[in-house]
């Protein structure tokens, strides 16, 4: 396996709301290796988007990053992005680390043309003039398979379809050749046939430029299709990390098992689905111990008292569950 380029250690993000402190991300650790696609999967409100945004400190008020380290490798040197001054971090955002946000219509400014928005990103990070940036923007749009990019650069976002807008957003995010591309639900707002085109595009990016991609989604199919390794998040914590085949074929955490069983597989004859009982906990007062225990069929006493440690069950397969941490034989 190649070297890691990103190392997240014990990340914690809280939101200070009127109702109380929402512990949205609580002790999240994972690594991203160069040239791989890491899938971050979880249901609504599990903290996957907050985690991805906290990496470059894009947490709006009333959120605050409460602790942890985000180590990013720049030319074989590790820098902690959480400690970097704003001006330095701004140089990294949009160039070495870039984002594809979920909703392409709100990621683009309606007052500027597609070409302007791509060129703006180039100018912000490189010493180039407008003319050159504009030509580069056309190239970028061509590389994301926008037909007739010379004409499209002059279009405003409302003149583009959803799929086209998402391509412009992807074009903007790859124009500075990032080392890490964070794609937050990149295909949630587009149709399946367009989704297939975008998946294809991301594959090409990864293969041609060896860009690492962090793919954030709730779609198990998309993870199966694209990810090399997968981290499963539940209620602000990581439940399990494994390579994609192991995760789908030998899931260990009861939540992962539940997640895989409740998604219908169209290639199989299914009589009944297996839902996960209960609902996602309130993150202002999360359950003590393991946050999954109230919904877990295998919950033991220790699960209700103590947070399970991370155990490496086999090489590269981590799980945070007392079933595998000797909790049963206390």
């Amino acid at each position: 396996m190649s070297e890691p380029i990103l190392r997240v250690e014990d990340l914690r993000v809280y939101f200070y709301t009127y109702a109380g402190v929402v512990k949205a991300v609580e002790g999240v650790s994972f690594e991203v290796y160069s040239g791989e696609v890491v899938g971050l999967i979880g249901e609504t409100g599990c903290g996957k988007t907050v985690t991805s945004r906290a990496l470059t400190r894009l947490i709006p008020d009333p959120g605050r990053i409460e602790g942890g380290r985000v180590l990013f490798r720049i030319n074989s040197e590790w820098v902690d992005l959480l400690k970097l001054p704003d001006s330095e971090l701004r140089k990294i955002r949009g160039s070495l680390i870039s984002y594809i946000f979920q909703d392409p219509s709100s990621a683009l400014d309606p007052l500027y043309t597609a070409g302007y928005q791509v060129a703006e990103t180039i100018i912000a990070h490189n010493k180039v003039g407008w003319k050159e940036a504009w030509l580069k923007a056309i190239d970028a749009l061509r590389s994301v398979l926008i037909p007739d990019p010379e004409a499209r650069v002059k279009n405003y976002p409302h003149e583009l379809s959803g799929g086209m807008k998402q391509r412009v957003v992807i074009g903007t995010s790859i124009v500075n050749e990032p080392k890490l591309l964070i794609a937050d639900e990149p295909t949630t707002n587009v149709d399946v046939t367009i989704q297939a085109q975008i998946i294809d595009l991301l594959h090409q990016l990864k293969n041609l430029r060896r860009t690492s991609i962090m793919l954030i989604t709730h779609n198990m199919g998309l993870i199966a299709e694209m990810a090399d390794r997968v981290a499963v998040m539940y209620a602000g914590r990581i439940a399990e990390i494994a390579d994609v085949y192991t995760l789908f074929e030998e899931p260990l955490h009861p939540y992962t098992q539940g997640l895989i069983r409740c998604v219908p597989d169209p290639t199989k004859e299914i009589k009944e689905l297996y839902p996960i009982p209960g609902t996602v906990p309130d993150l202002i007062n999360p359950p003590k111990g393991c946050r999954f225990w109230p919904r877990c069929s295998k919950a033991m006493d220790i699960c209700k008292r103590e947070v399970p440690p991370r155990v490496e069950v086999s090489k590269g397969h981590f799980v945070e569950c007392w079933l595998y941490a000797g909790g049963g034989h206390e």
Partner: protein
Amino acid sequence: MSKPLISVRNLKKYFPVRRFLFAKDYVKAVDGVSFDIYEGEMFGVVGESGCGKTTLGRTILLLIPPTAGEIYYRGENILEYDKEKLKEFRRRAQIVFQDPYSSLDPRQTIFDIIIEGPRYHGIDVGDPEEFVVSLLRKVGLEEYHLYRYPHEFSGGQKQRIAIARALAMNPEFIVFDEPTSALDVSVQASILNMIKQLQKEFNLTGMFISHDLAVVKFMSRRIGVMYVGRIVEIGDSDELFKEQLHPYTRALFSAIPIPNPRVTRSKKKMIVKGEPPSPIHLPRGCRFYPRCPYAMPICRTREPDLMEIDKNRHVACWLYG
């Protein structure tokens, strides 16, 4: 097979959009759709966003009047119904909407929401409270939920309430319009199981609309595939998953990622270029031909009709005409 409960013939629904002053264009949301829904079955409709599947569901129930075409209910054209018969049809045909957050009145209690329909139609339900509680139990809710308001429920629970409201009318036919697309997968599973079970228990006929092929496959034995206002293929769901005849169906089925890495990565993919045309400015001929890898000269000039290829298999494509 049993008799058709609902038959739709050449149904059209156009929405006018103003161009300038008096010039008008039309969004052809549903543009010549014909199919049958047999008694006791759950007919699946899949298609991408904007293909007209929601409009189709609403037009069949006459929630919006069709522009042209016929809708038959037990062999009778409901467009020729008088007021009295129409009211009876509206009782027997119900809908569960996509977004449970906006389909329940926030100022009514659950009891009021569910009893409103039966009251309006003067259905004798015995003790109203008992009646509503029995329905709530059927959808997995409890008696103490009776006088709560919609905001006190999660998305999944709201959808259960919406289903109870439909069942309160003792319907024969229910349109489920993407009932789980706003929900998380773990909640979706329990709602789908419940709908399947209630369908059996109440002997319901239904139409299940979704953009998620896996969900439609789970719910329905027969599936119709829609593309920009038309049904391009209808078939038995197992056979449809084995072999797709219409090039669009093939593209759609090959594009869905399957939650199994080995299967989905070894699957042959057919990635079609471009995007669906605007339902205002449709291409002449077949509406898929600009994206179709098999387009022939005839596809550019004449629109193919839905043809019966096989028992239980209809396709609208010149490759088979």
